[in-house]
Amino acid sequence: MDKKSFKGYLYLLPSIIIMLAFTIYPLIRAIIMSFLGDYSIINHGYSSIGFDNYKALFADPDFALSLRNTSIYVICVVPASIILSLIIAVLINSCNKTKAFFQTVYFLPYVTSVIAIGIVWRWMFNSNYGLINYFLGFFGIDPIPWLNRPEYAMPALIIFAIWKSMAFNILIFLAGLQTIPEDLYRAARIDSTPKLRVFTRITVPQLAPMIVYSSVIGMIGAFKVYNEVFSLFQGKAGPANKAMTIVYYIYDKFYNSYKYGVAAAGSVVLFIIILVMTQIQLRVTGEKKKK
């Protein structure tokens, strides 16, 4: 072993500076801020120190709504996206010549700007001239005021989000499908096992780690949903702000109402949620490695 030197830190210096300034410091500062009341210039002090911001946060019906909406969003988007992606991935994987083509098409939403494509979805959800209501018309469904009525705001957001999130899941499942030993399928073919059985008995169990991984990543992303809301409802959180999500709430408190303490408290709550999710993910992937 060559002798230990501090030279390594020279190489790390740029990253360490950026990380301290824009990740570690703001994290600590946000946590501290969440316990401080408004700063008063006259008294040179904070109006309160303690849990006041958290009390205000949990007493705010808007925050309750944002928690509720975000939970609905996570519960609808993640499983639907995973199941649809799994089916599509298995079907793509069974193609030979068209595999690359389908893979390219299905991955497209991943690389495009949520803001730009959200604006397009907004146009497609238009109640009078939108493509979606036009298609629904074929089935005798009357035009739905997707973006103007609170009860349809969340479904519109969820449809858009499923469309957007499938790309990543399909990619991960396709990669996972390559790692399943061909022998398993060959054995099933010799026994002429029905395809559906092969799917439930071989494919799904073999892909289980990927499915769990995608679910957790999807849940973490879904808890942070913001751009989708912003673009679909043109900067608002849906009609009468009824599609308020946690991150939208945090920014609204910070940027529009200047309630820094409450915004910081909200972001600490978000941090805790993400931390729990990440722990689950680490636990699961850790178990996979042990096996």
Partner: protein
């Protein structure tokens, strides 16, 4: 019996392609609709039933949108921010990954775990306090504000470190015997040997910088500093009901990335798969 199976197989294949094609149409529909709407006249836009293709493509919509807002300026700003951020990311990532994979220094494991731990922090949480920092530094409305906080990524460092680790240690030791300096070894051996991974990181970063929305929106005030995504949202409010112009502007933001994607999809797909599977 075998006749039945054959028929069954054909039906299964038809069903399979039906599902795949339906899904593919659903996936690209917003893109097709965006392009088609951007080339229509206002009357065509609202006609029922809607037409998939405009009768005569109104290319002038693009000129009009381009002139209606300073999109040229937004474009240049986005290019500057994307280019500088990506260069910064590549430099800091290569240096850090090299330090973590080849150099020995006290506290290496601790620092590495700390880097990894930062991945659990949601960026959304940091934006409020980072905004405060930018104000205190008097960086508001500057390229610096949009670039510097993003020139280091713990995630890419982690990714590249794993790639660097795969380069045999013996190469490094041989270089040491030949009196090759660490820096020279990094530039001459490590970087060329991992150029594909580095290239993937560059493209992934280009995509995320190009599409960045909230941070540039927060730290800029003036029209001259706006990036495309912010400019598009502003234009959407201003253009009001001129949907064809809004769609043309959306195309301007989306198309460059789609073109990059179609040409370099191998690197992008591989990069995302690898970063996904490392988890």
């Amino acid at each position: 019996m075998s006749q039945n199976r054959k028929v069954g197989n054909i039906i299964a294949t038809i069903l399979k392609y039906a599902v795949l094609i339906f899904g593919a149409v659903f996936t690209i529909l917003p893109f097709v609709w965006m392009i088609s709407s951007s080339l229509k006249t206002p009357t065509e836009l609202v006609q029922i039933p809607p037409s998939l293709f405009p009768e005569t493509p109104q290319w002038s919509n693009y000129q009009e949108a381009w002139k209606a807002a300073p999109f040229a300026r937004y474009f240049v700003n986005t290019l500057i921010v994307t280019f500088c951020t990506t260069c910064g990311v590549l430099v800091t990532t290569v240096l850090s990954a090299f330090a973590f994979s080849r150099l020995n220094f006290p506290g290496k494991k601790t620092v590495f775990s700390l880097f990894l731990a930062t991945l659990m922090i949601p960026g959304e949480m940091l934006i409020i306090t980072n905004y405060e920092t930018i104000i205190n530094l008097k960086w508001i409305d500057s390229y610096k504000a949009m670039i510097i906080p993003w020139i280091s990524s713990a995630f890419y460092i982690y990714l590249l470190t794993r790639f660097f680790m795969q380069v045999p240690e013996s190469l490094y030791l041989a270089a040491k015997v030949d009196k090759c300096s660490d820096f020279k070894y990094m530039i001459k051996i490590m970087v060329p040997m991992n150029k594909q991974a580095i290239f993937s990181i560059a493209i992934l970063n280009i995509i995320s910088s190009w599409n960045a929305f909230l941070w540039p929106l927060l730290v800029t005030n003036s029209q001259e500093m706006r990036v495309l995504s912010n400019g598009l949202v502003r234009f959407q409010t201003e253009a009001g009901s001129s949907t064809e112009l809004i769609m043309a502007a959306s195309c301007m933001l989306v198309m460059p990335i789609i073109i990059i994607y179609l040409f370099l999809r191998k690197y992008i797909i591989e990069g995302v798969t690898r970063s996904g599977l490392k988890g």
